[in-house]
């Protein structure tokens, strides 16, 4: 291991869970969940939840627009699916499920990453046509959030179903290919300057990075064709590839190449 990016990343994921649980312990600096929240008085909002509320509810509240833009700008700069890799509690759980799946050696089927963009389209179309915010209704993120903040355990069955399918049938299918929020961020974060860089002449083609990458398709252009950066918006900026690279061929760039 040449670096240890997994430590701050895991810390961030666990901090989010602790923040959501904090009101239960009587602490007041955090309110809400990943759909909309107040952190030390700073209002934060999920931009996709904002879009659904805007399209389906036809209400616009300016401070809400501001907080959604703030969060969108944050992920635009950090790039790709940073949300999926560092923040999302479902990501944390399916990541642990993935470890189990590898041990069992089951569920090797993969679905294409583009599907998440289609499911984003489906969500936006549904809310425009029927006024039903499909993602807020079905979102396992919301289900986990409420399970923690309001101790409601039954809806966690949805999460259990996702985990079951991911472990036995298709690897990380929800996060990779079905989650509309992942699709949303993969579009939003496509042009970020924070990217994984690739130095071709250092690469030994051991393929360690491909084995740890949750969305290994994003590394293909670099490894096969020598592209100098991972440009795909689907990269979750988890930097597991950087951690795994013994030859130091992968690094973190803060600029375009």
């Amino acid at each position: 291991m040449s670096s240890k990016w997994w430590i701050p990343r895991r810390t961030a994921q666990l901090t989010i869970l602790a923040l959501i649980a904090s009101p239960l312990l009587g602490m007041t600096f955090f309110r809400g969940n990943l759909a909309a929240a107040d952190l030390f008085g700073l209002p934060l909002a999920d931009p996709l939840a904002f879009l659904q509320a805007l399209i389906g509810g036809m209400v616009i509240v300016l401070p809400y627009l501001g907080s959604a833009l703030l969060v969108a700008a944050f992920y635009f700069i950090l790039g790709g699916r940073t949300f999926c890799g560092w923040i999302c509690p479902v990501g944390l759980i399916t990541e642990l499920g993935e470890k189990l799946r590898r041990r069992m050696g089951s569920g090797e089927v993969t679905m294409p990453l583009t599907a998440s963009r289609w499911s984003l389209g489906l969500v936006l179309l549904t809310v425009a046509m029927t006024g039903i915010p499909l993602f807020e209704v079905l979102s396992p993120i919301g289900i986990i959030n409420r399970a923690i903040a309001f101790v409601s355990l039954m809806p966690l069955l949805v999460l259990a179903a996702i985990l079951l399918v991911e472990i036995t049938v298709s690897r990380r299918v929800w996060c990779r290919s079905l989650c509309p929020l992942g699709g949303f961020y993969s579009i939003l974060g496509r042009f970020s300057p924070v990217r994984v860089g690739f130095i071709e002449n250092r690469c030994t083609h051991c393929d360690d990075c491909l084995r740890v990458c949750p969305v290994e398709e994003v590394l293909t252009p670099s490894l096969k064709l020598g592209a100098r950066q991972v440009t795909a918006g689907d990269c979750s900026r988890c930097f597991a590839c950087v951690d795994s690279c013994h030859a130091k061929a992968l690094s973190i760039d803060l600029f375009y190449k």
């Binding site: 009101p23 309110r31 809400g32 969940n33 759909a35 909309a36 929240a37 107040d38 209002p43 909002a45 999920d46 939840a49 904002f50 659904q52 509320a53 399209i55 389906g56 509810g57 036809m58 209400v59 616009i60 509240v61 401070p63 809400y64 907080s67 679905m111 294409p112 990453l113 583009t114 599907a115 289609w118 499911s119 489906l122 549904t126 809310v127 006024g131 039903i132 915010p133 499909l134 807020e136 209704v137 079905l138 919301g142 289900i143 959030n145 409420r146 903040a149 309001f150 409601s152 039954m154 809806p155 290919s177 079905l178 398709e217 293909t220 252009p221 096969k224 064709l225």
Partner: protein
């Protein structure tokens, strides 16, 4: 990689899989879920929302289910709906028979709502229209039967405005007065305190869908 590989590293087969089969699967799965799971939250009848909630259909879309209103409610009146609410999963509900809305004058739930699902234009608690109380079972109401109950009237935060007592002669006994509680629909905010306070095991006064104008005192 074989000769079919394009510059983006995607084969024709992969492309077709991604752009034809996947959306088809998604649409099928989506309609499946929609028919079974996405019925209207209203399907089971009226749902009492926190103060300031916009019209139910728009509310379902505008509410981002962040739970801040429930966290702000000092009486824990606001609960988050579970899967039984269908499309309404994760939206705030008030079940008056458990804990009604006690009408905080500073409306903390409305203040914290980020998305406008609870309308911030609402400032005066007397302008709240969450629902309207209705006496659904006049035969069982103790006051209407001639006893001195009137608990709903005395508990009503808008006593003598939203619930009034209309006395009339008790023709059955011939010598007493029936002190009948009557809901003034145009004043009722729908907080549910009357429903909570009804002394009968099954409340005879309950909050239902908002009725703006009074047509008949005995309408139910």
């Amino acid at each position: 990689m074989d000769s079919e590989t394009t510059c983006s590293g995607i084969t024709r087969r992969q492309f077709l899989k991604g752009s034809a089969i996947t959306p088809l699967t998604l649409i099928l799965a989506g309609t499946g879920v929609a028919t079974v799971y996405l019925r209207h939250a209203d399907a089971q009848g009226f749902t009492l929302r926190p103060p300031g909630a916009i019209a139910e259909k728009r509310f379902l879309a505008a509410c981002v289910r962040c739970g801040k209103c429930a966290q702000a409610c000092p009486y824990l009146s606001i609960k988050m709906a579970g899967g039984e609410a269908g499309v309404g999963i994760g939206t705030p509900v008030i079940v008056p028979r458990e804990i009604p809305c006690y009408l905080c004058s500073d409306l903390p739930c409305v203040k914290v709502c980020p998305s406008g699902a609870l309308d911030k234009k609402l400032e005066d608690i007397e302008k709240i229209r969450m629902g309207t109380a209705v006496i659904i079972d006049r035969e069982s109401c103790l006051s209407i039967r001639g006893l001195r109950c009137e608990v709903c009237y005395r508990q009503c935060p808008l006593i003598d405005k939203a619930i009034v007592i209309e006395p009339r002669h008790n023709t059955r006994t011939g010598e007493h007065t029936i002190m009948e509680p009557v809901v003034r629909k145009e004043k009722c905010v729908g907080c549910g305190i009357c429903e909570k306070s009804c002394v009968l095991p099954k409340p005879v006064i309950v909050v239902q869908k908002t009725v703006e104008t009074q047509k008949d005192s005995y309408e139910f």
